[in-house]
Symmetry: C2
Subunit: 345 residues, 2 copies
């Protein structure tokens, strides 16, 4: 067969020019370990022939695309935005590219992306979805974030139970006696349920009296306002601490409290959950249980790309931390502790 | 040639099964217009043969990958996060996938992504970069955001000059007389320079006295604090309005003012630039000139994907709007206007 003069050089041409096997060229091109002298010969041949690595053709040959799809509702929510960033950076360090697939909570769009990912033979999918009916083919490399899709696929999340417990312990340490737990969200969200259970547990062990107010998806926020108003008795707010299931809810509640003339943290201390910061990297928006976003990202990539793991854990919970964000009275509490110490010489 | 029994069906097999030309199958698979009866026959054949569309093989054939690379410093900054979201959604509506390429401001990483994109034959690149030395091959479909890379590539930005002017006009409308412009950032950032020029222009036309304080990259934030402190005379802050070049700077300045006992908006009104909201979609963090992120996203995709455009505009500026975010005195101003109107019957 005659080779046209103007035809682009192929990987085979490079192998012939370098006098090495085709697999050696593939290894060099894919940044896989290969003897240094071979690497030099292949790189010289690539330069000489002006061979352009075609990543997609490469994918077909090696049956690997070095591409991972990340399924997220959006990147406007700061928690999702931070996940996207850390997963992108982690994949990039391992020479993987990342297809961002924002779904805007649309189940059809989520399924379409899953199908696309399966068709397009990406090496795997990392997904955060609220869709329990998503169909993911058996054997698809899939890692879920925050919400387990099925025991067949590993899920990476914060230790939500410990986070709830930590919130209760912090409020107790900060002098609270009567606390509330506020939550909005669907019952499907099992990881979020753990925040409540952990908080209840912490309240019990620390002797805090705790009241729950849980709204289902679709119920109006005004029900929370009513709940708060009902707990003003004789001009005084009966709660001295509130744990909200997310920072966003904490922020909304603090705004509502302000309108009722209740001051945070003077009258009531508020802790949220997520660890959202102003502009992504400035102060925390409120006192909060911080999700370890970078560790979650790294664990997702690890579980997806390590083929050597014969059994993958169905659920990995990563440790959370507490951060003061100005809606709790750390300073006052420590002053009080000092004072108490001085009273008991 | 014998066809192995267990070999995956190809596009050719589908064409043979459906009794149509290969090009017709390609059109159906790529969602391009094709007669309805042909579409039905092809889809039936795809189902019958259990043909899996291989998007990458497809890309090679059609010389189109239906993939666009988005180059951003990160997705943690809410403005970048919002850009990523809207560009992703816009591309997805047009059946394009998006490779997210976070560079963390690293020039080497930016160049690597550009090279990767050229090698991997994505259909184009949309990039926001602060790197003036980036090498982009002539003819690469590239659209810049916010900062022009070269007249060879179109750039999409907010109308930054009009935004600066609008900020001055708003402060004038809100009763300010002595205002300041604060900025931090490199001189390379020509689009940001326009915010200053527009503001100066607005101050001139509205008779506002204006003082500038501009820090270069690397200069410490404490210089701003000093500047603010120097302008407290006889216990009174001499500025009644401040325009900050970004919402982030506005937020930092408001925090610094608070520590000096200067209240916003009572003592001084502050306007930022960007339109950043709490949690991406709640209240604005401060009064602000809002960038039209969705329109910027749509224009980038339009300029990248419309091959029919024979000449692409080097710079497209999209209109900004003003939003009150609680750091200006809209309510007081309108009351005052009412009062004035009543005084002159």
């Amino acid at each position: 067969m005659m080779k046209k003069e103007n035809q682009a050089p192929t990987m085979k041409d490079v192998a012939r020019e370098a006098g090495v096997a085709l697999g050696t060229v593939s290894k060099v091109v894919n940044d896989l370990p290969v003897g240094e002298s071979y690497r030099i010969r292949v790189e010289e041949a690539i330069r000489k022939l002006n061979y352009q690595v075609n990543t997609y053709a490469q994918s077909l040959k090696a049956d690997k695309t070095y591409t991972v799809a990340l399924l997220l509702p959006n990147t406007q929510n700061p928690y999702f935005a931070s996940l996207a960033h850390h997963i992108n950076m982690t994949l990039s360090r391992q020479k993987y590219r990342m297809l961002l697939c924002c779904t805007d909570f649309d189940p059809a769009s989520e399924q379409e992306y899953i199908n696309m990912a399966q068709r397009g033979k990406v090496d795997g999918i990392i997904g955060l979805t609220y869709n329990p009916n998503l169909v993911i083919e058996e054997g698809t490399p899939f890692v879920a974030i925050d919400r387990s899709m099925s025991p067949r696929f590993p899920c990476v999340a914060s230790d939500n139970f410990a986070g709830g417990q930590l919130a209760a312990e912090k409020l107790a340490d900060l002098g609270c006696k009567n606390v509330a737990f506020l939550r909005i969200g669907s019952s499907l969200n099992s990881e979020t349920n753990k925040r409540r259970s952990g908080f209840e547990n912490g309240c019990l062990s620390r002797g805090l009296s705790c009241e729950m107010k849980i709204l289902n998806d679709g119920e109006p926020f005004s029900l929370f306002k009513e709940f708060l108003r009902e707990h003003i008795r004789g001009g005084k707010f009966t709660f001295d601490g509130i744990f909200c299931v997310t920072d966003r809810l904490a922020w909304l509640i603090i705004k509502a409290l302000g309108k009722l003339g209740i001051h945070v943290p003077e009258d009531v201390q508020v802790i949220g959950f997520d660890g959202i910061r102003y502009f992504g990297d400035e102060d925390y928006i409120c006192s909060t249980i911080v999700q370890p976003v970078q560790e979650i990202a790294e664990m997702c990539v690890e579980l997806l790309t390590r083929e050597s793991l014969s059994t993958k854990p169905p659920l990995v919970c990563l440790p959370v931390t507490y951060a003061c964000g100005g809606t709790t009275r750390e300073h006052t509490a420590s002053l009080k502790e000092d004072a108490e110490t001085m009273e008991i010489p």
